[in-house]
């Protein structure tokens, strides 16, 4: 059981004391795919760092499976992390990069199987510098799933890729997610991507980040980024909240929203 409850009351950046997050509360159920959408500087990466136990310097609490997160070394959840850049060790081969995060040699078979799944079985002995950007992301994705995570943290993992490559990676992510069903927190500023991938979207305001809106996505899977249902929902959201992607909802947003496929939850 790895439901996540995030209750960040405040978070200041160490340098200069600028407020990064304020009143940032949301939850994710076990196996749920939750996207965090917000403008740049909303503190999305900071939230992932706090949930992942890499950042302890904040007011509030984060629990995973009912237990408080106090640091990365004794994290209650087994975490897979995919960063904005692939962040592979350039001096380790593809296989070694994945083995790095595994507990022992017995998982050697897992590495082979995972590389097969991400379509890199021939590149196990290559160094990251010999791979294309898209291939490096695939290694990074394989590494995140190698630990059989029950919590997967993803920080704009497909940004700055060409669209077909990004699409292939999204499909890969979804097939791996279906197999292992980790709880996912997926940070993006790409709303259509969030709609296509998520069970639920949490919208954040501009800095200091707070949760301004939540939206359940009940479009049946499998979905495709170019489906009309996704396009329709995308347009509907922007019609209702034209400024939501810059982190603003109208003051009247507290009232009852229109009924329809996206149902609004308390923000």
């Amino acid at each position: 059981m790895t439901e996540i409850a995030v209750e960040i009351a405040r978070k200041h950046f160490a340098s200069g004391g600028v407020e990064a997050l304020a009143e940032c509360r949301f939850t994710a159920a076990t196996g749920e795919f939750v996207s965090l959408v917000g403008p740049s500087g909303a503190g999305k990466s900071t939230i992932l760092n706090i949930v992942g136990g890499l950042d302890h310097d904040y007011g509030g609490s984060v629990t995973a499976g009912g237990r408080i997160v106090t640091g990365s070394s004794h994290h209650p959840a087994r975490i897979g992390y995919m960063f904005q850049e692939p962040r592979l060790m350039p001096w380790l081969t593809v296989a070694q990069n994945i083995e790095l995060v595994l507990a022992g040699v017995r998982q050697r078979d897992d590495v082979v199987r995972l590389l097969e799944q991400v379509g890199l079985s021939g590149r196990a002995e290559s160094f990251p510098g010999q791979l294309s950007g898209g291939m490096q992301r695939r290694v990074s994705l394989a590494r995140a799933f190698a630990v059989r995570p029950d919590l997967l943290l993803m920080d704009e993992p497909f940004v700055s890729l060409d669209e077909p490559t990004a699409q292939r990676l999204r499909n890969l992510l979804l097939s791996l997610w279906r197999e292992l069903k980790p709880t996912v927190l997926f940070v993006t500023h790409h709303l259509r991507e969030a709609i296509a991938l998520s069970d639920r979207i949490v919208f954040l305001s501009s800095s200091p980040g707070r949760v301004i809106h939540e939206l359940e996505i009940d479009i049946p899977r499998p979905r495709d980024l170019n489906d009309t249902s996704i396009q329709k929902l995308y347009e509907k959201i922007l019609r209702e909240y034209p400024k939501i992607l810059s982190g603003r909802v109208p003051a009247i947003a507290g009232g009852a929203p229109e009924t329809g496929s996206p149902q609004r939850r308390s923000a």
Binding site: G52, L54, S72, S73, H75, I79, G80, Y81, F83, E85, R87, M89, P90, W91, L92, Q96, L100, V101, F127, P128, G129, Q130, R143, V147, L153
Partner: protein, 250 residues
């Protein structure tokens, strides 16, 4: 790739040219203070046969290895800590600058006076001369360490020993190699002075003896033996290690 293939020949060319020039100059001048390369090689052979060259070389090499190891271990540890903790960096910086600039001769004399004319004093004196430059180089590396890669290790809860050997230290390799290369070069030089001043064996001591007898051929023969060792160490140790740790570079 042509330049790489031709590299051994290019390397040899400059040395051969130097030897040829030396031979011609020695023959033209024909003075006892500049023996020809041929007579130096003959003298080298003689010293090799009678055996005292090899034993002196072994003793000197042992001192080099010992003081090099001490200097690298201590310098790396302090360098990493100073690169990592700015407080410590500020605290030790004054001593470091002093250490960098104190003449080798002063350290050697002081070590001999304080610890006596013993082996430990000799090795300590050499190590003390080398440690500050190792610290400075490694500190630079520790400052340049990519925190984002360390974060990966933390996020995935990689055990600290593996984090150190697979994530942290590889980032220091170029700096450690630079420290090792310049370190060896410096230590070769200082060890001979240390031997000349306070030991009764080793290459430095032998050179001192030859100096007293004005035996220039023997001095050059010993130098030749020494130079050969340096080139061999570079070829069979430093370059392969360098190639091994930078094989991932495209």
């Amino acid at each position: 790739m042509n330049s790489v293939k031709a590299a051994p020949w290019l390397r040899a060319l400059s040395l051969l040219g130097f030897i040829a020039l030396w031979q011609v100059a020695a023959q033209l001048l024909a003075i006892p203070t500049l023996p020809t390369p041929v007579s130096v090689v003959a003298s080298l052979w003689g010293h090799l046969i009678d055996g005292e060259l090899l034993s002196s070389l072994a003793i000197t090499l042992w001192r080099v290895v010992l003081s090099f190891a001490i200097a690298m271990v201590v310098g790396t540890a302090v360098g990493i800590l100073m690169g990592r903790y700015p407080m410590l960096d500020t605290l030790l910086d004054g001593v470091l600058v002093l250490g960098l600039n104190i003449p080798a001769l002063v350290t050697i004399i002081l070590c001999y006076i304080w610890f006596g004319l013993v082996e430990a004093a000799a090795v300590t004196a050499v190590a003390i001369n080398k440690i500050p430059t190792v610290i400075v180089t490694v500190r630079e590396g520790a400052r340049a360490v990519d925190r984002k890669l360390l974060e990966v290790a933390d996020a995935f809860r990689v055990p600290w020993t593996r984090k150190l050997t697979k994530v942290y230290v590889p980032q220091l390799y170029p700096y450690l190699m630079a420290a090792a290369r310049s370190g060896l070069a410096l230590i070769w030089k200082i060890v001979l002075v240390v031997e000349l001043l306070g030991r009764s064996d080793g290459i430095g001591f032998q050179l001192g003896t030859f100096f007293q007898f004005f035996d220039i051929t023997s001095i050059l023969a010993y130098t030749l033996a020494f130079a050969t060792i340096v080139l061999v160490v570079e070829a069979i140790l430093m370059r392969p290690i360098d190639a091994r740790i930078s094989r991932w570079r495209p």
